[in-house]
């Protein structure tokens, strides 16, 4: 790709990554969540594939596969966390520990990052999964059938 595209990519890259991370992190407070933020970051992968070609990223293929499995495992293990009561029980909500604060006051409020129990953790697990999953789909499709893939 041309110099312009490469330069613009370099400028956009950190912004998009930060925005994706923000969307994932604030999933329980603002519109968005693991899937949406993951898709934003995965679009960065797509951009890189378009700009630099899939061959330069083929080292990431194995990493993506591992991260995908790790994300899915983390998600299902978080669901197993509640097995003392029921599967998928949100045991961390209201427990007072990490992410265990109750909502400051019911009704409209500014929001507190430290709330919602397992939800933020699940958002991260799903986000990781979506980044790795979509990234590896894009990468695999771009690499298929090429000698250098």
């Amino acid at each position: 790709m041309s110099v312009v595209v490469r330069t613009v990519t370099r400028v956009i890259l950190p912004v998009a990554l930060a925005f994706g991370a923000y969307v994932i992190m604030h999933g329980h407070l603002t519109p968005g969540g693991g899937f949406q933020g993951g898709a934003v970051i995965a679009s960065v992968v797509a951009l890189l594939v378009v700009v630099y070609g899939g061959a330069r990223l083929k080292g990431a293929k194995g990493w993506f596969a591992v991260l995908e499995d790790v994300g899915a495992l983390a998600f299902v293990l978080l669901a197993f966390l509640g097995i003392g009561a029921t599967f998928f029980r949100n045991v961390l909500a209201g427990s007072g520990g990490l992410f265990g604060n109750p909502v400051p006051q019911p009704g409209p409020n500014p929001g507190d990052l430290n709330t919602a129990g397992t939800l933020p953790l699940m958002n991260w697990a799903v986000g990781l999964k979506v980044i790795a999953g979509l990234g590896s789909v894009v990468l695999l499709l771009s690499l298929f059938g090429r000698e250098d893939g």
């Binding site: 999933g27 329980h28 407070l29 603002t30 519109p31 969540g33 596969a65 995908e68 499995d69 994300g71 899915a72 998600f75 299902v76 669901a79 599967f87 998928f88 949100n90 909500a93 209201g94 604060n101 109750p102 909502v103 019911p106 009704g107 409020n109 929001g111 709330t115 919602a116 129990g117 397992t118 939800l119 699940m122 958002n123 799903v126 999964k129 979506v130 999953g133 590896s136 789909v137 695999l140 499709l141 690499l143 298929f144």
Partner: protein, 88 residues
């Protein structure tokens, strides 16, 4: 012959679907609301999340999300399986 049959079936199906859209409750005035009313009123207290949609996605209907994550994983594994390098 076959074309006419498919065309007729298509028209009947679309007719019924559009009819279903018209028969449904008027847009913006849902007929019943007990489940969603419950979510809107209690999600903040039960899940401690400000975003009601997220509390449904990951708590009330978390099993759906597990299924959805599984679908995505199955698709990625499937793509990796289909596009893998094999003999020949």
């Amino acid at each position: 012959m076959k074309r006419w049959l498919f065309g007729a079936a298509f028209l009947v199906l679309v007719g019924y679907l559009i009819g279903g859209g018209i028969w449904l409750h008027p847009f913006g005035v849902p007929a019943r609301d007990e489940m969603d009313r419950y979510f809107i009123e209690n999600a903040q207290a039960e899940v401690a999340a400000n975003n009601v949609v997220t509390s449904i996605v990951f708590d009330y209907r978390g099993f759906d999300t597990l299924g959805e994550a599984t679908v995505l994983l199955a698709a990625v594994v499937g793509v990796a399986l289909v596009l893998r390098k094999v003999k020949g």
